[in-house]
Structures are given as C-alpha cells and as structure tokens.
Symmetry: C2
Subunit: 389 residues, 2 copies
C-alpha cells in the first residue's frame, strides 16, 4: 500500500503538497476508495468530503468503533502525518481477518478532510463539521489564498451523520517528537493534547522610500515584527511552551520600500490553558511595547483557539495494553488532531503514536521505520480486536 501512496503529491524537494481538494489529495482519496473496495468495505461520504469505510459483518450491532486519520498534508510536509493512520487501519483490518476475528460491532476507517488547515486556515475542518462543532454557515465562506471558498469545492449544506453511532475512536499517528526514541519503544499512547491557538499580529507603520528616508525618521513595522519574533522565541524557551512565527505577509513587499504593513501569524501551545494565555499575553505586551518604541502599531486577533484535550482514561488504558501483558508508555502531544475534536464532541477517544527517529514533523524528514510501523499496526489491531469483541 505504502509503495502506491508514497509518490502522490510529492514534489521536487521530497516534500508533499496534498492540499484538500487539489488533484494530489484527490488521488490519495481515490487510492483509499480502491483499497476499501478490494476489502469489501462500504465507503460513506458526508457533504463535506469526510469518508468512513465500514466493515459491518452480518449481525454486527451496537456502538461502532472508528479508527483512521487523514490524507491531506501541510505544504511541503512529510509522507507519514495522516496517511500512516489510514494505511495502518487498513492493515489492521487485514490482520484481524487473518486472525479470524469477526467484529461484534461495526468497525469503521475514517478519513477526515483538511486536518492540517493548510488550505482554508482552520485545522481539523472536516472533523469539526462531522461532529457539528463547526457549522456549515461559518465554514462555507472560508477562503484559500487564491480566494476559492470552501463552499465552492464541497457539496455542503446538510448536517453530517457520518460519526453518528460511533462509540469510540482510536487514531494512530506518527510521533512528532523524540519521546519514544528516548524511551526506546516503537509505540506510545497519548494522554492529552496541549491547548493551542493561532493569533494574527497586524503590525502597521508608514510606507516610505528605502533610500531617502533617514533611519531615525522611519516607522518600520518589519522591525517591530522582528523584535516580537525574537521575544516570542525567548519567552517560550524559558517557559517550555511553544511560540512560532512561521507565516508572514508583507505589504507592499518591495526591496526599495519601507513596508507599510507586516502581518504575522503566531502559533502558540502550552501545557495548560492558563500557561497558553500567559505566554500569548506576554508576547502581545512585548509587541505593543516595541511598537511604541518604533512609532508603529500592532493588533492581535485570535483566529482559532483549541482547548486542552484529555483522552478518555478507560479507553486509553485499553489501547495501551500490550499483548505480552505490559503496556505502551503514555506521552503528551503538542499537536492538534481529529482525535481531539472527536473527544471534545463527547466521543471516547484514544491515540497511538509510532516512533519517529528524526523527531521531525511537517517536513520531508518525517519518518517511521517499517518494523515500527508494523508494531503500530499490531498494537492497533490488538486494540480494535478487544474493542469490537
């Protein structure tokens, strides 16, 4: 399966560009449908492009168990974030069938759209719509960088019934750090997701000529941004939180013009909601102070905020059980996931992580060794077997 999926949407740099509803991402979806057809799984699609492939043996009844992940990537992302959870789910179904296991309840493999928020700006857009935690009215007008609206690329409208009747969700994911490397185990279980938010910083100054305007006469918003970015990194290093300015828009963005406006997006995450509020407020205060010094201004807008997620304890304990009687270690994750959205919507949820030797994520160097992937599949199959007994 991996061999077929690996080249889709991979660009010259080795990075992936599988933005939702682009041809590369649609190709991954076509691949998924083909794999499901080969396994006699029935694929259902909701009006937003989310998919669930159902294994419903005769007589299976009761609350369904859902696994799966997503197939889209960040711009120039790696090949494992998302797809590993979908491929592993298909492989786990194969393993269960080889073992002769027949689920007593329906077992589904979900593929949620726009998990990364790389096109329409809202992470976990598909699962938010599937669970009703975001309305169609607020989603349809989201636009990508070319001005295309989400409402233009999906049917939309009717409420999704895709996760109705789902009693638990288990998502497998490549690790996005080196916790499991240090622990020397191939698989771990997540206990919580750090709260995080995206904040738009609008720095405004005065456009001017880069040659004739004396340095002392300038109101240059680039300098206020620069000072804020350095302060954000310093503060987060000190507190152990995360603060990143990775996206920027400069206007007019000309070599010989002092900019009039710099818009920068802060991605901030912390171990608790209080810590998150504190780090964002410190960065905001530092930005305001520097703006005063530079004769510029800054406005901070929270574009999205995701609360802390604590995964369901009983389910997490179940998923962490190893076949040899031991248990997989518990780790925290600093990244958002569809699992977090389903959990917040009241569906008992757990997450499995597979070791990533580089620790690198959202970039081509993201990786999991084949033997670790197989350990992940086995851990997932074991969990699903117990949950669908």
């Amino acid at each position: 399966m991996w061999r077929e999926l690996a080249p889709v949407g991979r660009v010259r740099t080795g990075g992936y560009r599988r933005q939702p509803f682009t041809s590369a991402e649609r190709e991954t979806v076509a691949w998924f449908r083909q794999e499901c057809a080969a396994r006699d799984l029935t694929v259902e699609e909701d009006p937003y492009g989310n998919l669930v492939a159902w294994w419903r043996p005769e007589g299976a009844a009761g609350d369904a168990v859902l696994t799966g992940s997503h197939l889209d990537s960040v711009v120039e992302g790696g090949g494992y974030d998302g797809p590993l959870g979908v491929v592993s789910a298909l492989a786990a179904v194969d393993a269960l069938r080889e073992r002769g296991h027949v689920p007593a309840v329906p077992l589904g493999i979900g593929v949620f759209v726009e998990e990364e928020g790389s096109r329409f700006g809202i992470a976990c857009l598909g699962s938010r719509l599937a669970t009703g935690s975001m309305s169609w009215e607020s989603a349809r007008e989201l636009r990508d960088r070319d001005g295309v609206a989400f409402g233009d690329v999906v049917a939309g409208g009717a409420r999704s019934t895709l996760v109705e009747g789902v009693g638990s969700f288990v998502e497998l994911h490549v690790e996005q750090g080196r916790d499991l490397v240090h622990r020397e185990v191939p698989v771990g279980v997540a206990t919580m997701i750090w709260p995080h938010g995206r904040y738009r910083f609008d720095f405004r100054g005065e456009a001017n000529h880069a040659g004739t305007t004396r340095m002392g006469d300038r109101r240059d918003p680039m300098l206020t941004f620069a000072g804020t970015a350095l302060e954000a990194a310093r503060i987060a290093l000190e507190t152990g939180d995360r603060a990143t300015f990775g996206r920027l828009e400069v206007s007019p963005n000309g070599t010989n013009a002092v900019p009039e406006r710099v818009t920068a997006w802060l991605d901030a995450r912390a171990g608790s909601e209080e810590a998150l509020r504190s780090v964002v407020s410190q960065i905001g205060s530092s930005a305001s102070e520097q703006a005063t010094g530079h004769g510029t201004s800054v406005d901070v807008t929270a574009e999205s905020e995701s609360p802390e997620v604590r995964f369901e304890e009983a389910l997490t304990a179940e998923v962490s059980r190893r076949s040899d009687g031991g248990s997989w270690p518990a780790i925290a994750t600093m990244a958002g996931h569809d699992a977090g959205v389903l959990s917040a919507a009241g569906i008992p949820t757990a997450m499995l992580f597979v070791r990533n030797p580089t620790g690198i994520s959202h970039a081509p160097a993201e990786y999991a060794a084949p033997e670790d992937c197989l350990a992940g599949v086995e851990a997932l199959a074991d969990s699903l077997q117990r949950l669908t007994r």
Copy 2:
C-alpha cells in the same frame, strides 16, 4: 494635464500601481502620446518601450538636449515620483513656446520604462538598455513574480538608438526627503547620487512542526532574519547610512510550521562606495554570527550594485542658475534615477528637485504643492532655454 493623469492606476488605498506594461502604466503612456500629438512633438520608441518626444524646429542642429523622467511607479507608490518630471517637461515646452523661444538644437522629452524595478527587479531597466549599459541578452530573461519574462512584453532585439546624439540630460524629480523643506526653497539641484545595492540574504534552517518541536531543538531561519533586520537598522542608524529589509519570502509560510527558508532582500545605501561596502559587510557578519547561534545558515548575494554618481559640474552650475541672479541650493540624493544611468554612460547630466512637504516617497503621501511645481517648471524651462540657445 495633472487632472487627467492623477486617477490612472490609483487603487483603493490612494497608492499607485503603475507596473511596467500593465494596463494602468500603458494608459499613462497613451496619455503621454496624446499630449505630444497635441504639441506636434514627434514620438520615437525603441525596442524596449522607451520613448522620446522630439521638438525639432526647422534648422535645429547639433547635440540634442533631453529632459523627462518615467511614468511607472513602485507598488502602492505615490503619484509624483516620475510623472512630475514628464508633466513638467511638457509644461516647460509650453512655457518656452509662450516666451517665443525656438531651440537651436533638438529638444527631447524622454520617458524611460521600469525605472523603479518594481516588476522585473532591475531599477532603471529602460535607461540601462537605452544607453547599452545592460544587454538585451541579460534583460530578456528577467521575470516578474508571475514568471512572465521581460522578453515576452517588449519587442527587444535590436540596439536602442534613442539617446544617440543627446548632448545633455536634465531630469526634474519630486524630492524624496525634507532637505528643501528645511532650506525653505521650492527647488534644488542634485550634485550626486549615493551608491547603493540590493543584496539577497538566503537564510536556511530546518522545517519542523510548530507544536511538537521544542524551542531548543529548532533551527529557525525566521529568528536569524529577525536578528539581522534589527542589527541592520541599528548599524545604519549609527553610521547615517540606509539599510532596509522591505521584501521577504518565507517557505513553506505555514502558521504551524517552523520555516525551512527565509529569503530577505537588503536595500543598502551610503554616502560613499567605501561606506556602502562597510555597512553591507557589517550586516553580513552579524547575520553569519547569528546563524551560527541558531544552527541556521545564511548566504548573501549582491543582486545589483550602483556606483556613486557625480553629476556634471558645468551643467549642474548652469541648471542651478536662477532668473533673479541667485542659484538653487545643491543637495545629495539617496535614490537611483535614470539620470544616474545616463550620467554613468557619459552623457552630461543634471537633476532638479521640487520640494516635498511630507518628505515621504514611494507611498501615497508623496506630494508637491502646485506653486512649487510651477517653480520647478520655470526652473526647468529657464535651464532648457539656456541650453538650447
């Protein structure tokens, strides 16, 4: 004339977008041709889109006198930089005819394309081609941000003969600072243009996940850029030079990704070539030092360097003569101009500046009061009358 020209290419913000060979800029060229036709001036065009409108009275012979400027603007620029020199040249011709003056040598009004370098990246592209200081081979492959080549928008090929036979060039321009405001005079004469250059800084680090990657494990090129931008401003403030980072490209430019690459363009200018080398080298050293600290790297490439220009002394003295026997004050300019290119090509050149109360340039607040514009026209007409006697 001003009333007709003012709305062309002006956008919502009040700024101008007259990029070369866009419809707005072409409209200004059509306007120029119309004004020339109304005055019986013969317009010649070279293969690169440069224009000269000739007034050749019967019997006029000998080295021609050229005036004029450009009609393109920076992105979101002001309405005076360029057009004031063209409008004033047309008005000066009107004034000379009212005075009954008949030039003894040909008198031309030039309009050079892409003076700002806002589309194809090279400032004074038109005058460089017209004087042969840049070759068609190196110009044809210059591309704009959409990938359109300069060779696709002009006929190109043959060498320009437009400025052959020109014995002197006088360019009138709006001031790009407040020197004349402090001196309380409407008009000044430039003695030199500061040397300046454009340098591309390629900062490279490691793309990574903005949530899961600990601050201490990052190699974030955005931080190296930020530190370099602040240092550049600090150094130039101290030395009295100019150093501006006004243009930036971030890759992948995603909110939740530590960038892999930040490319920033430095615009640097100084009072002498030695001072320019020194300020650029200090900024480069600071960038390298910071890159080492951040685990990133930086490469600096000089994209264009313009040497110091000293305008011709005899011509400048002639142009600075006032009708009342006094003389207009001499000032330096920190901005590049077509006059600098013609001067470097061996054509005796002088520049007149008109007071700009805001001192702001390359932005909508750029301005010259009507009475100062009229003083500029008179100073230009006086000069042209003496030079074409």
